[in-house]
Amino acid sequence: MNPILTFIVILIGFYGLSTSDNIIKSVFCVTIIESGVILLFLNLGNFEGGAIPILNDHLVDIVDPLPQALMITTIVIGSTVTALSLMLCIKIFHHYGTVEWAEVLRREDVKS
């Protein structure tokens, strides 16, 4: 596991987030960034020759269980946040008739 390769995934997500013109595309990119961050955290606790953090009768070297416990919460919350933002996307489409960032912002300017 190479953390630098994982960081490239996060950077790709940031690039997509700042250049995407579609709102749903932005939500996809947030998912990518999230997966990259989880991989980075797990990589922090992992080391060569470590075993999974489940105790056996004989004592072995295990990897750090703390980042894993934190990342389970991240996955569950990330899914609900995705659901919330997608529900907002549906509402935006029925209100503005489009899901392009530029069009939505332009119509918001016309109104005010």
């Binding site: 950077l11 489940i54 269980p65 919350i77 609900t80 659901a83 997608l86 529900m87």
Partner: protein, 230 residues
Amino acid sequence: MSRRLFLIAMLGVLFVVFTLSMIELESLYNNYGMRYFLNEGFDDTGSRNLVTAILLDYRLFDSLFEAGILLIAVSGVIWISKHDVEEKNAQFMLDKYKTPDLFVTFSRLVYPLMLAFGFYVIINGHVSPGGGFQGGAIVATAILILYYIDGNKETNIGLIVTIEKIIYLLIILLASLSFFTRGEFFTNFFVPSANPDLKAIYLVLLNVFIGFKVALGLWTIFTAFLKEGR
């Protein structure tokens, strides 16, 4: 175009900074916490799976509020998708959504197996990989299959959310029980000197409650989406 080049340059700077700080990060990290969990984890909590031990005992405060965030997100989804006028089951003239028969038959075969696997993952959360959050997601996926079998299935979202809130209160009560036995909130309610096998009862109970709560929460989320899709 120049804006995009500037963006790539900024990301490149981030990349270089991260690469340089990698060495520092490794020297910063220590394994004292891991040593502690390895030596004391089983006797403290009664859980062979140390991730479950951290989720349900050492850092129960975190998990409780994670479940709370799940509840808040579910409420948000319902509130956004809420319509005052009754249009949920409007019949469209062009109905082109029909599930293939083969898929329905296989869904019927797979559904009880998935449900059983979900409960297995929930109940064995303290001795094997799994636990309330993962098992709840599997149970929710099994329930999702029900909607493929019967597309016109009606679900009372209000009732599900009420049950979910009650279960959340039960989780908080169960976690606070330790105040009477140990004198501190949000930990195991058996005394610290109890047999580790006895302490596992608390873990199984809490796992089952959290599993049901997560399953109901995810069920509500995709029911709201499926109704939006009609």
